[in-house]
Amino acid sequence: MSDRIKEKLEILADAAKYDVSCSSSGSNRKNKDHGLGNTGAGICHTYTEDGRCVSLLKILLTNHCIYDCAYCVSRKSNDIKRAAFTVQEVVDLTINFYRRNYIEGLFLSSGIFKDADFTMERLVLIAKKLRREHNFNGYIHLKTIPAASPELIHEAGLYADRLSINLEIPTDAGLKLLAPEKNRKDMIRPMTYLKDQLIKTKEEGKLFKTTPKFAPAGQSTQLIIGASGESDQQIITAANYFYNKFNMKRVYYSGYVPISYDKRLPTIGTAVPTARENRLYQSDWLMRFYGFQADEIVNESHPLLDLDIDPKLSWALRNMDRFPIDINKDDYQLILRVPGIGVGSAQKIVAARKFGPLHIEHLRKIGVAINRAKYFISCKGFLQIYADKRADLIKSYILNSSKSKYTSSTTQQLQLF
């Protein structure tokens, strides 16, 4: 028995790994009635050898699937080992991993067996057992099966912290080509439903303290990068649409890992576009935390992200007329726009300058990357002498002074600003 469970875990964790989301954030569930677990600590309990955070037990209930999406390892036509957990097996794994402090909770997804509702019912049942029978208050992320009934989606929201539906392919044309059995409408419908429910719960929560929680960590989605020839502009526009239209908490970008000889897709052996993926995450951060609009990052005349420099520097170089920024006078929002100054440094600058004007040395100690910021700022004792230099010259200065950073294209670090 224990051998079979080991094999199942290997198959069903392997099949789930292409979903890059492993976040356990956004929810603040307390441990109630002396039970097990809570959420809100946002802990990565380990990291994979490719440097990704492992926070949740991320598995499929089964990798049997009636669909044949070309980009997916679990597709019907793929000749692979299949397996399925029982409801109780998933519950036991979750509880036992959690008690040993391996994980923050469960991220459960599934191939579609029989039909959408049949699959969704089982996912919901697992969440329900964890919450009701085990008084488990850790994190639960459930994948919503497109085309599942609203009643089931609603029930899922009562037990889960986060729900997600992966659009996967950012463009309509791409989706038609690679997953002809799927349609965008089926995926958009539950997203809209969730958005409305989330807003409703929030409103009711203001009026009644007893309003039951409904997916407190909201909903998220994932886009696969580099499987369907889409441009960065298309991806960022799609992401922006999801953030605005469905109040998505997060959009994830997953560089396509070639798993098929299908002619419609990049062949096996093609490198995973990790550098591009990294630039997309940086763009995402610019939109969420730095006050950038999507069309400032990519637009008709600039549809592709630069791979050799980050999107914030790229924007600055295209908008040299906005600089220099005066560190001691200008608004926080403007200081945030300076390459080499992140959110933390910008906050410190605004706090520290109240005590007296800041010099370059102060900025260095605060943690500003002077070798980049110096082309875009002025401060006490430091006049901007590069203001009339050409952007391409400044770019080459910066690239030369920080070789290692921009040449290691595999790095996935996000704090690069």
């Binding site: 990565c44 050898e49 490719d50 990790t274 706090a351 520290a352 005590f355 595999t410 996935q412």
Partner: protein
């Protein structure tokens, strides 16, 4: 103002008492070190601080009034780093805070303030790592045991986290470097030490006490760790940045460091 080398007993109370006496005796501290480091009769300028609860309490209250609870906690967290320059840093900062009209805690242009923030950040990172990397192993009697070896003395800082989270199981988290632990009996958490901590310090000896299902779940976790890896994306540099080698000794998925 007299320039003096201060000696204290190494406790937090001792630090707070030092701050009190610094003002009481109008002392300008040149250093603040553990009494153990004191060489008898060497210096005319030495002053021995004896920890006193009432003085410590008054300083604590004063600090909280002056710089708020968070400001006070920052100083305490820095103290837990056990870094050699920290005691002096703390009392010099306390003097600076008390003497200034401004909320100096936010003066990121000031060298002492910046040094403090840096230490507090490292301590906070270590605290977070222990929340992440402490791994419980279940013993036959149902006790969950985790052995840790943090760079800084962060056990007091993770107490509440584990108590809130694992409210319905008995657990022990033991710092094998500092020879003390926290034990939770499903109601309260208390500090514990052992007559012979040497035994505990070796995770191998725990194996004999394992609950029947412990090896299975440890093995499942290792397999899980292997299976979620995407070989095509392998990036060991990034991996090591997140999980530095010195932590491997207590992680199953790294075979307790034996793979290395």
């Amino acid at each position: 103002m007299r320039e003096v080398d201060l000696y204290f007993d190494g406790t937090w109370e001792g630090i707070l008492t030092s701050i009190f006496e610094m003002f009481e005796y109008k002392i300008m501290p040149l250093s603040l070190s553990h009494t153990a480091a004191r060489q008898k009769g060497m210096f005319q300028t030495a002053h021995d601080v004896v920890s006193q609860q009432d003085k410590a309490d008054r300083v604590k209250k004063g600090l909280i009034e002056k710089i708020g609870r968070n400001g006070y906690l920052e100083l305490w967290h820095a103290f837990l780093s056990e870094l050699p320059d920290v005691p002096l840093l703390i009392i010099r900062l306390a003097r600076h805070y008390f003497q200034s009209e401004q909320p100096e805690r936010l003066n990121f242009g000031h060298d002492l303030v910046l040094r403090l923030k840096k230490i507090v950040k490292s301590v906070s990172r270590e605290r977070h790592r222990m929340k992440a990397f402490a791994r419980f192993q279940r013993l036959q009697d149902g006790l969950f045991v985790a052995l840790i070896e943090p760079d800084f003395n962060v056990l007091p800082l993770i107490r509440k986290h584990f108590q809130d989270r694992y409210a319905d199981q008995r657990w022990l988290i033991f710092d094998i470097r500092r020879h003390y632990g926290l034990y939770y009996d499903e109601h309260t958490t208390s500090e514990v030490t052992f007559a012979d901590p040497g035994n505990l310090a070796n995770s191998r000896t725990l194996v004999d006490l394992y609950a029947a299902d412990e090896p299975l779940y440890a093995d499942l976790w290792k397999r899980y760790f292997k299976s979620v890896n995407i070989v095509e994306r392998k990036n060991m540099k990034l991996h090591l940045q997140h999980v530095p080698r010195r932590y491997w000794r207590h992680l199953h998925e790294k075979s307790f460091g034996l793979d290395a």
